[in-house]
Symmetry: C2
Amino acid sequence: MINEEYKAMLGGKSVIRELSEYATSRGAEIGYQNVFDYSLGNPSVPAPKSFTDAMVDLYENGDPVAIHGYSPSLGIPSVKDAIAENLNERFGMAYTGNHIFPTTGAAGALSHAMRAVTKPGDEIITFAPYFPEYQPYVKGAGAKLTIVPADTENFQINFDAFEAALNPNVQVVLINTPNNPSGAVYSADTLKRLAAILTAKQVEYGHDIFLISDEPYREIVFDGATQPYPASFYANSLTCYSWSKSLSLPGERIGYVAVNPTATDADLLVPMMGQISRGTGHNCPPSSIQLGVAKVIDQTADLNVYETNMNLLYDALTGIGFDVVRPGGTFYIFPKALEDDAVAFCMKAKEYDLILVPSDSFGVPGYFRMAYCIDTEKVKRSIPVFEKFAHEVYGL
Amino acid sequence: MINEEYKAMLGGKSVIRELSEYATSRGAEIGYQNVFDYSLGNPSVPAPKSFTDAMVDLYENGDPVAIHGYSPSLGIPSVKDAIAENLNERFGMAYTGNHIFPTTGAAGALSHAMRAVTKPGDEIITFAPYFPEYQPYVKGAGAKLTIVPADTENFQINFDAFEAALNPNVQVVLINTPNNPSGAVYSADTLKRLAAILTAKQVEYGHDIFLISDEPYREIVFDGATQPYPASFYANSLTCYSWSKSLSLPGERIGYVAVNPTATDADLLVPMMGQISRGTGHNCPPSSIQLGVAKVIDQTADLNVYETNMNLLYDALTGIGFDVVRPGGTFYIFPKALEDDAVAFCMKAKEYDLILVPSDSFGVPGYFRMAYCIDTEKVKRSIPVFEKFAHEVYGL
């Protein structure tokens, strides 16, 4: 018989997807160029030409049996080595290829990492605002997700609320920096303080607490800054990555888990993830894409447009009178809504063809998310519409 | 803390992988050309040039944002439509694209199909000899796998044993035809009889019983025959497929589940699989590979070498005195060992650099599997070695 639990899930559609589908259907009516669709985090810049060239070279000059053959279940060794070396150079780590587990994007990485260091019933803590898809990943692992309320001052960590939430059942703390949806980049101070608390609590509780760090936006940081590398602050760290954003390859489903060599049982965790894959039918990301990203490991797509768009929107929104924390990275901005009910606010914006995502599903009421991975020209055209909307509806 | 269950699994290495690793290390000693490695089912023929051309065309002339963008969570509509049309033409089915769920190979397909139509504790029946990786897929779904003893006469279905095993807790019957490891192709008679039993038992038990049909070897059938399409015999059928073998793309992890439009809740099952993906971090196979296989949907690699190899081996082995059921398809052959203990037999063969897989993990004692997806030249060179081995050790 069909599984009633999954059947019941069919009701619960993602708000983001629903808005995105609305934007598409509205676009069919009035022309998609007239819909200011800030709903979906789908990168708008092309993959770098070097990636395309690398793939064409693989296809044209490689041995098809080797390129398309089974990847070893823990990933292709040369690819794992390339990832380890790149992380070591950039962040002063000491990974070997054996600490790298290639996955189908960050979703695959998080799902494997969570299963590896929890058992059903364990608690995972994360911080609002948070990416709503963490809920199914945590549920899939059989664990329970606790959300620590946001630090709305600057979207770093609300440490008082975090310390109040900690308890001996917590096995994992999950962070996402640069952050979707706030655009915040956790500072070295934030990461140091987080590590100090976790280190003390490991002693107090008498068990490991793993830090799972979700970093698909690592390379999208503004003002010439860089993201401090979370695993360099804390031994028991599992770093989850995806090339979705840095190489603009979201549909290729390629990422990895990097196990900090100083973590407890560091040498067991990647082979354990191989066992986890067998039960989910994952069996490694595509061989050819593994080989392709390894060839351009030190490159990114041209990500400048995101900073351009952020500055345009930040200046415009603050000029209109919105309360906004300036994003340090990503392609999201997370302003305060002009009324307490973010859903009502976004529904009113929809009347102006401004497609904004209410913050409720991110664990914070009263804000909205804009994904500005769209053409700068459209961002510019949306600004007078924002002005009109804020003026006509809220008298700004 | 790290998960003790997955940690404990690290002990249990796959026999096939272990033998394959032995073959590789032995090859480093004496030259791999001197190791008759029949262990692994890794296709030896190249992907068709038309696939390479299609991929190069996508990369060179496509819009990278479209090619590498997120696939919708239920798959790319044009790809789903192409798969449905191809199946309808070949097998007289009535699929629409909405009945097709693209997956990361057959492993992903089986894992999704099993979760969709079982709940934890349910029973899944399959038939020996069977592919050992069914165990982790079933365990991952929380179900229990029951193995029906083999029909060693011709490796069709042992119906007496099957009817004895059926009980109201059985929700799924899992078949694999053409079969790994036996090479058997289930006949129309076998499939008709199976469908009749399932239809009667659905009425008797008062609930659906789903047939999950694993068909990665569908296009490798010998003597000009074809595999009768299992779903055409039974309404509640979920067909699991992979292009690993037909297009020689095992590392690209691309396949699908096709839900028979006449199945119970046929229109819900694909959306439910989308929900299942969220919990496992699957999120659709790579967009570019989905688009690539759709362009060569009616093609295969040059698969003739497998039939050539099968005939050489079948004739040689029967000539030597082995008891062998002639394979109807796949690239496996499953002869009876020359002593009751298949492991002892294969260990003795290893001394002759013949790498054979004992049948125990396939659920049948006393046989061995040879994966003859290797060069014909090597198959030929292995024959005198087989003769020598059988003569020196078993006096044949």
